[in-house]
Amino acid sequence: MKVYNPKNIKEALTYLGGKDTHILAGGTDLIVRIKDRDIYPKSIVNIKMLHLDYIKINGDFIKVGALTSVETLYRSEIINTYAPVLSDAVGKMGSPQIRNLGTIGGNIANASPAADTVPPLFVLNAGITLKSRRGKRAVAIGEFFTGPGENIIERDEFITEVVFKKMESDEVWFFKKLGQRKALTIAKISLAFGGRLSGRKLNEVSIALGAVASTVIYAKRTADFLNSKRLTRDVIDVVSKIIQKEIEPITDIRSTVEYRRKMAGALLKQGLLDIMYSVIARQS
């Protein structure tokens, strides 16, 4: 196995393109897969020295370097203030040790249907920046994944940056994750919610679910139903049934179809009730 240690992006790109070339970012997935003999890389491109570890505010947007660790995201005031839905999700990832190594770019590139950063990035409608010797392109996160472990990254490309709009003060959000235990757990189901609230009326609703399909998915019909609806107990009861009909989960080692369906409804209901009650508390 050949290991390249490029000093800049331009140099890194010269090593990409070959079959069985893998990128080493945080290594928390790649090294385990090599140890498990799940993959046999011919070469590894170690991108640690590329200075892609940053969180910047750029006008209305937040730019996160692909090599930013999950722990850095978790402790970031910028993420906590402008992307709280992501902040909450990264706090529920792995363990402190894994969060220190694992990166946002790696979590996206591995394309796990249960990836914890991805449902919040769906709700934030994030753009993923890819670079290759051919140039640069940006892809919406909703169009990034094609199957479990599969995405639209070409062999000669890699992720350099994740960009999303700042959340504003009228936006409401929540992230829910169910697993076998609190730490070091892969989601049985996860749900990220975002929307705008005026009074008790919802708009621009976006709902993304993890671990209920071959990729993270939007629950579009459910979100559409909520748009311009006033949050009431009845609406919440109805929508928690709609989401159960919209998703098509499977039974696997982590959970069952029945549990995932029921919990999709329960998690949505729980989150929406919290929003409704906090609005009522504020108004009274």
Binding site: V32, D36, I44, E71, Q97, I98, N100, A183, L184
Partner: protein
Amino acid sequence: MIKIKFTVNSEEREIVTEPTRTLLSILREELGLTGTKEGCGKGECGACTVIMDGKPVPSCLVLACQLDGCEITTIEGLSENGNLDPLQKAFIEEGAVQCGFCIPGMIMSAKALLMRNPSPTEDEIKEAISGNLCRCTGYTKIVKAIEKAAKMIIHHG
């Protein structure tokens, strides 16, 4: 083979090794620092936790090619001039050790916590060791020992 320069327990080291060799293997087999244990080898158990540039990491998932210029602290680096670290003292005094296999990793996670947050709450302690498994399930005394060490450091400096 690559040449890497890094610091282990405040001592500069320069070694020539395979770029894909793990930090855990370098510590145990190259440098003879066998206090760091191998449990699962996949980052799930925390037994191999060391502090890298101030942060706890599983040394089984760090490769030699990522080490150049890094500062590593292992369990062997905690005592100074034969005096145990407050965490080590507190673990002994509280009887927080059963079989002992998870303890070096537990202490390194706790050390990283106290470096960042000298007076953690019980919940913060539990979160800091959430990546360390104790198969003897002796968590209560481990949490107590970490609370005690925090007090010892604040009172005695």
